[in-house]
């Protein structure tokens, strides 16, 4: 009897232990499945690029909400861990180190802009992480990193492709323009754009009659425009940041710049507040852009995304329409998310290979990366401002004010040439 009792106690103990072990093994994967996937990044939320950086963050938060509503990635909710890099490149390496070593994020994406992306590259490369990047011009030319993916549609030769459209358009005109003036801001992005413009000008046999840079803090651009006018160029290529872009457009109007094509690489003319302020001064300018509300660029999901963005942007002091950067900030997370789902894990090598091998459906259209992580085919738009009325913000929300001239596949109209104020 005692033996029987002891035997049954042993069976009971073993049964309880087995049940406990079985339940523990069931609970463990369930807890892991609920662990969030952490995506880490820095963003320019203060400082010079904060206007765009805050808009990008709004777009990224929309993606996070959208993906979490669909059940997250790999069945796990998505969380962001991010820090303000204050538009200071020197802060970026330390913050990414913290994201990786302290916050232990699962995936990383970049901040906004060339100057903020480049300093993160050595840290990311050492860890062999996939690095989707947001609007860096030719960053990977220096690093040749095989897990870098740039969402800005510059194309396989970013410096050249970025300005190719402006010069291709110029060369289609009759008689062909022959002389060129280049003015660029004395800063990384603008200098890269101007370098590309020089190569494109050489390819098209232009004679460069003016080629200068201007420093940050330049208050008056009328002497620059007069100096350009004195060289009588057929076309004027400008690579500038928002204050310089506004200064150049106003000075060109005040001085009465006479040239046949004017624009090219002016950052700021894509933002609604600046467009409203400059109004009819913009008419005739041909400038780069990445997305405008023209019928040829009505990609699936972009209108729905912009509706959410415009609602979320209210009262936040950012671009109210968000045509320029936000769709791409949403898209680079779409690409990463699709790659994670397709590879069914967080293996960085597999994700990178998938991103190289496949085409992604995003709100900015089909995205296919080339070997260097840039878009396999350039889609830098050249748009021309037309029929812009004074003091009217609403006019820029819909089509008809920024006509797509280039690339031809996406064109919504023909150029008005020569430039007239």
């Amino acid at each position: 009897m005692a033996k029987y009792r002891s035997l049954s106690r042993a069976w009971l103990t073993a049964g309880v232990l087995a049940l406990f072990a079985a339940s523990a093994s069931l609970i463990a994967p369930a807890a892991k499945a609920a662990d969030p996937i952490k995506i880490g990044f820095t963003m320019a939320l203060t400082g010079g690029l904060a206007g765009a950086g805050k808009g990008a963050l709004i777009a990224m938060e929309i993606w996070k909400d959208d993906i979490n509503k669909k059940g997250g990635l790999l069945g796990r909710p998505v969380e962001f861990v991010y820090y303000d890099d204050a538009t200071q490149p020197a802060k970026v390496p330390g913050l990414y180190q913290k994201l990786l070593e302290v916050d232990k994020v699962d995936l990383v994406v970049s901040s906004y802009g060339t100057n903020e992306i480049a300093p993160a590259m050595p840290i990311i490369m050492r860890k062999r992480l996939v690095f989707p990047a947001l609007f860096g011009l030719a960053v990977n030319d220096q690093f040749n990193y095989d897990r870098y993916f740039q969402i800005m549609p510059s194309g396989p030769e970013p410096k050249l492709d970025w300005t190719r459209g402006f010069f291709d358009l110029a060369m289609e005109q009759h008689p062909k323009p022959k002389t060129l003036a280049i003015i660029s801001a004395d800063a990384e992005f603008a200098l890269n754009a101007a370098a590309g413009a020089r190569k494109n000008a050489l390819r098209a046999n232009f004679t460069i009659v003016y080629d200068k840079t201007y420093p940050p803090g330049t208050a008056d651009f009328t002497p620059i425009v007069r100096a350009i006018q004195a060289t009588n160029p057929d076309i004027v290529f400008v690579a500038s940041y928002p204050p310089g872009s506004v200064g150049m457009v106003k000075a060109a109007n005040e001085v009465g710049l006479k040239t046949k094509m004017f624009g090219g690489g002016m950052v700021g003319l894509q933002f609604a507040a600046i467009q409203k302020n400059l109004g009819p001064m913009l008419n005739g300018i041909v400038n780069y852009d990445f997305w405008v509300p023209e019928p040829t660029l009505n990609f699936p999901g972009v209108k729905e995304f912009l509706a959410k963005y415009q609602e979320a942007a209210k009262g936040k002091g950012v671009d109210p329409y968000g045509h320029y950067l936000p769709p791409y900030a949403y898209a680079y997370l779409q690409v990463l998310g699709q790659a994670v789902e397709a590879t069914k894990g967080l293996d960085q090598g597999k994700i990178a290979k998938y991103m190289h091998d496949n085409t992604f459906e995003t709100v900015v259209g089909k995205v296919k990366f080339g070997a260097n992580g840039e878009w396999a085919r350039s889609r830098v738009l050249q748009v021309q401002f037309r029929d812009v009325q004074p003091n009217n913000l609403e006019q820029f929300k819909g089509p008809g004010k920024r006509i797509v001239l280039y690339p031809p596949d996406w064109a919504s109209g023909k150029i008005v040439y020569p430039y007239k104020q």
Partner: protein, 290 residues
């Protein structure tokens, strides 16, 4: 490439630009030049003036210069308050040199962060009928976007100069700049005089801000670009000299404009600041220094 019209336009553009620089620097000429207070936050207050102009211009369509003039008394009162804090915390205890500088650095950052939190970081601009128009006198063009700030700056400089040289309080400010102890022996309160002078300098920031936003777009941290230039103008003009400050501003503007036109815009700050160093080598007290 050197033609008469290009040269004339470069000189005129430089004079107009110099006028605007004078409006930016005049507050510092009083606060730093006469009171020896290193108010590094002065350009940040100019940005507050620019935002004030932006808000009233975008909401009610007020002319930016008018807003600047109307906001000046409020800036005056705020300036008086800031000086009181500065005096109580640093000057009275003799810690104004390093701690005072840190204080104004702090004020500058607080202003920038508050502007970012309240108004965001987008570039702000104003609309006025004269922006974009140009007055042509023969082959010389005078863009109203620069002419209006120039005329306002001339009026502001003349007004401040007349006030400092012809009124009792103005002379008291000059006296406290020269010999604080002597003023005290005369029975006057130097702290009150300095408070008044600091407030006057701050009031000019409201007007300078409205001129800045007429010329170009403004965001919260853009004031930092003017710190070096404004202090350089005050030093070049001769610490505390209002006419000296104005002439120094014109020289800087004209040199920048000539270099931009005939040499290249990137050289403009280097040549202008080189000129400052050269002048100080021969006249350490500045052009009109005592």
């Amino acid at each position: 490439m050197l033609t008469a019209d290009l040269l004339a336009n470069a000189v005129v553009a430089g004079i107009l630009l110099g006028g605007f620089y004078a409006a930016v620097a005049i507050g510092l000429a009083i606060i730093f030049g006469q009171l020896d207070i290193v108010n590094i936050a002065h350009p940040a207050f100019i940005i507050v003036g620019a935002y004030t102009a932006y808000i009233l211009n975008s909401r009610f369509g007020f002319d930016p210069v008018l807003v600047g003039v109307l906001a000046a008394p409020i800036f005056f009162i705020v300036g008086a308050g800031i000086y009181r804090i500065y005096y109580a915390a640093f000057e009275r205890t003799g810690q104004e040199s390093l701690s005072g500088l840190a204080f104004f650095f702090g004020v500058m950052f607080i202003i920038e962060v508050v502007l970012i939190l309240v108004y965001g970081v987008d570039y702000r601009l104003v609309a006025a009928r004269y922006i974009g128009s140009t007055w042509s006198l023969g082959f010389v063009d005078l863009p109203f976007r620069l002419l209006v700030p120039f005329v306002t700056a001339v009026a502001l400089t003349a007004g401040v100069y007349a006030y400092l040289s012809r009124t009792f309080m103005g002379r008291a400010i000059q006296a406290v700049a020269q010999d604080r102890l002597a003023l005290q022996l005369m029975g006057a309160n130097p702290v009150s005089v300095k408070q008044w002078a600091f407030a006057l300098g701050m009031a000019t920031a409201a007007i300078a801000g409205s001129l800045l936003i007429i010329i170009g777009p403004v965001e919260p941290s853009v004031g930092r670009l003017y710190i070096g230039r404004a202090f350089a103008i005050v030093v070049l003009g001769g610490m505390g000299s209002i006419p000296g400050m104005f002439i120094a501003a014109l020289i800087l503007g004209v040199v920048e404009s000539l270099v931009t036109t005939f040499w290249g815009p990137s050289w403009a700050p280097a040549v202008a600041f080189g000129l400052l160093l050269l002048t100080l080598a021969f006249r350490p007290s500045g052009l009109f220094g005592r």
